[in-house]
């Protein structure tokens, strides 16, 4: 089947989703990212791989955090970076996405980093670009957030290198989460034998087991003997209503406390894509505890995004 994110030779052309990203390409990104981890620790935190290139961070949906990490990654590769919050400019005037993109192409942008509230937006843009321009999906609706998925498996690989021997649990709002979908595909692509999701039925997509996961509805059995716990963010608007009765009940049933975590393996690591809702999906004692690797995730996120951009620009470290 036609794969929009690869060239006919199988090289990465766009990064749109982890689904459909072959293991070979995924490993190439992770291995390249390893070589960028050291860059940040140097006095001069820059490499010249994208010198003279223009990267446009185009965010149709606000996210200071993700945009900043992409900006830092691009700048460490010596690219010129333009940040555009379309939410507050032309989209509110009714300009179509592709018109916005065409204007930026006319200004000779080399790479787009795109976030949009609608699933499929990055695919749409990728299909309408000239051949020499790449798209990095920085999150599209509920569909995909591939760099987050990549940085998560990069982090896991650093702490638990034997991927083929892991038990991983994702906890929380899988239904609305592009992060969860990306993590699941990244884990299964790398051969993690057991991926679990733990959530109430209201927060799981229909037929979620077809993604290759085991479904649990309670933390005690779901977290039993796992090596990695990946928490998902619960959006404020879902905390009360028809999805869940209250944030407090959610914390009681699915919030990660030291007690609930105690059934996991003693050396299990705890991850969260941020920003965290302390006291809703995670207890501060866990978030700040010694099993948490939440801040290393952020650090590695820069290296992984550098790797993606470098590979798309045709270079390596």
């Amino acid at each position: 089947m036609y794969n929009p994110q690869l060239t006919s030779e199988g090289a990465l052309k766009h990064l749109l989703s982890i689904e459909g990203l072959p293991k070979k390409n995924l490993l190439q990104i992770l291995d390249t990212a390893e070589s960028f981890v050291g860059v940040a620790e140097r006095d001069v935190k820059k490499v010249p791989l994208l010198r003279g290139k223009t990267v446009c961070n185009i965010f149709f949906e606000n996210s200071t955090r993700t945009r900043t990490t992409f900006e830092i990654a691009a700048k460490r590769l010596s690219a010129d970076v333009i940040n555009l919050n379309v939410n507050t400019s032309s989209q509110s005037k009714g300009e179509a996405i592709l018109d916005t993109i065409n204007n930026l192409i006319a200004m000779h942008t080399d790479m787009f980093v795109v976030r949009h509230s609608q699933s499929g937006a990055a695919h749409l843009i990728a299909q309408h670009l000239p051949d020499n321009i790449s798209v990095v999906n920085a999150g599209d609706g509920r569909h995909s957030h591939p760099t987050q998925g990549l940085l998560d498996v990069f982090t896991i690989r650093r702490y638990k290198p034997e991927m083929h021997n892991l038990r991983v649990a994702l906890v929380g709002d899988v239904l609305h989460s592009r992060v969860a979908r990306s993590e699941i595909h990244a884990l299964t692509t790398l051969g993690v034998p057991e991926v679990r999701v733990i959530a109430p039925k209201t927060l799981l997509p229909n037929e979620v087991e077809k993604l290759g996961v085991q479904v649990f509805h309670d933390m005690k059995t779901g977290l039993k003997d796992v090596d990695v716990v990946m928490m998902l963010r619960l959006q404020n608007e879902r905390m009360t209503g028809a999805m869940l009765p209250s944030a407090q009940e959610y914390f009681k049933t699915y919030g990660l406390t030291p007690e609930k975590l105690s059934v996991a393996k003693p050396d299990a690591i705890v991850m969260h894509p941020g920003p965290m809702n302390r006291g809703v999906e995670i207890d501060s004692r866990v978030a700040d505890g010694k099993q948490a690797v939440i801040l290393p995730q952020v650090t590695y996120g820069i290296a992984v995004r550098m790797a993606v951009m470098a590979i798309l620009a045709g270079g390596t470290a």
């Binding site: 689904e19 699933s119 937006a121 695919h123 309408h128 229909n206 979620v208």
Partner: protein, 427 residues
């Protein structure tokens, strides 16, 4: 004007004709099939050798986009597309701008269509004012103005009290109500079948139960109020089963399916292909097979095009924001033939699904070649292959999930009232 159609293979399901015969037309009517009438000397002779000659097709749902959406399509462009598809009668839903809920609008539309003289159009009036599901429309006056029935198009009535009253009122005068069964709360903001693919792509799903729940509700109220109900665009296996049981229990209902749903599934969305964003959503292979079987065993009476021309701009947006619908007038015949071929159904059975059955549902006199009937006729080559492309479609809407695929079955002539409205010029 006298016309002779000779050497063709005539299929007229209503009259059980399935044989090589000649058709004789005078003054817009069929005057003989088989033997020539006395002293018949044609002004025009069409040689239909190697072709199939059938009643002109009757389409239960075609959006012509007038009034209001002329930038998507016009009466003129779409009636030419209908003629090119062999369609001579079509019902059009009221979800135009303004909505067809006043007699004056119906009269204007009918009059404008008559001027083009390319197909008979049968507007379906809005069942409730502005399709809001609150207040009834003036059904008697709308009927007098030319409405063939009443519908909510893609909007469901939320208030079951209003639904009940609307059924009672329509039943008083014997009008047929055309409803696409969809429970509006379960379907809210949904854009794809609530299944594996929607889960993977992160699209909001519409569960199959949205259809079956609404069918159950409508069937119950229709039975209580003795209303003629036609179910539009079935999409689920459960829905087909409910209709089958109702028919077996003697409930007088009918149903149709869009030609798209007999061939496509949720997987045709692939990487967010907005051409596959249609209503109701494309569902699973199991559903598609149940729909195909439903047509074969007569649970589903008719196949329609559900023609919905959409402009490029409204499709060049993220999937969920794309306007739903696909162009279909020119694909109705080949997709119906493909269904027959895939399901070992006879050509006559296939033709009945787009002629006499939909005509009976609309309560119109078309869809057959009886003596004295209007000479509305389609002549097509059932073996001819052609490629679906923007250039090959007469419709202003080029939006189809079948773009660049091959179709078998090509209309060569279409006649309305005995005059040629379309002739394939490529051969």
């Amino acid at each position: 004007m006298k016309v002779l159609i000779k050497n063709g293979h005539v299929i007229d399901p209503k009259n059980n004709i399935d044989a090589k015969q000649d058709i004789y037309i005078a003054a817009g009517e069929i005057v003989a099939v088989g033997k020539p009438p006395k002293d018949f000397s044609p002004n025009q002779t069409i040689n239909a050798k190697g072709m199939v000659v059938t009643p002109g097709f009757v389409d239960l749902s075609a959006r012509l986009r007038e009034p209001g959406d002329e930038y998507k399509a016009t009466l003129e462009s779409e009636l030419h597309a209908a003629a090119a598809g062999g369609i001579t009668s079509l019902a059009c839903p009221p979800d135009t701008d303004p909505i067809l809920d006043e007699p004056g609008l119906i009269e204007m539309l009918k009059q404008r269509a008559r001027k083009h003289n390319l197909a008979r159009i049968y507007p379906l009036g809005a069942l409730t004012q502005k399709l809001e599901g609150k207040a009834l429309t003036e059904m008697c006056q709308l009927s007098e103005a030319g409405c063939a029935g009443f519908t909510q198009a893609d909007k469901s009535i939320i208030d079951t009290q209003v639904l009940w009253r609307a059924f009672e009122y329509a039943a008083t005068f014997g009008y047929t109500i055309f409803l696409r069964p969809e429970e509006p709360f379960l379907a809210k903001n949904g854009v794809a079948h609530d299944g594996e693919l929607a889960g993977r792509l992160g699209l909001k799903g519409i569960p199959s139960a949205a259809e079956s729940l609404m069918i159950a509700t409508i069937l119950r109220i229709a039975t209580e109020t003795e209303t003629n109900i036609h179910f539009c665009r079935l999409s689920t296996a459960e829905g087909v089963e409910l209709i089958r049981n109702a028919k077996n229990n003697g409930v007088a209902v009918s149903a149709d399916v869009s030609a798209h749903h007999l061939h496509l599934t949720e997987h045709d969305i692939a990487y967010f292909n907005t051409h596959a964003h249609i209503k109701p959503p494309l569902r699973t292979i199991r559903d598609r097979e149940a729909l195909c079987r439903g047509v074969a065993d007569g649970t589903i009476d008719a196949i329609c095009s559900d023609h919905t021309p959409v402009d490029d701009d409204a499709k060049l947006v993220p999937f969920a924001e794309a306007e739903a619908g696909a162009t279909g007038l020119e694909l109705l015949l080949p997709l119906t033939l493909k269904w027959a071929n895939n399901n070992q159904s006879s050509l006559a059975d296939a033709i009945s699904r787009i002629t006499i059955h939909p005509a009976n549902i609309l309560g119109i006199k078309s869809g057959h070649l009886s003596l004295g009937a209007n000479a509305d006729i389609a002549i097509f080559d059932p073996e001819a292959a052609w490629q679906v492309s923007a250039d090959n479609l007469k419709s202003q809407g080029k939006n189809t999930p079948f773009l660049n695929t091959e179709m078998i079955g090509k209309v060569h002539y279409t006649l309305l009232n005995g005059h040629i409205t379309y002739q394939n010029k490529t051969d």
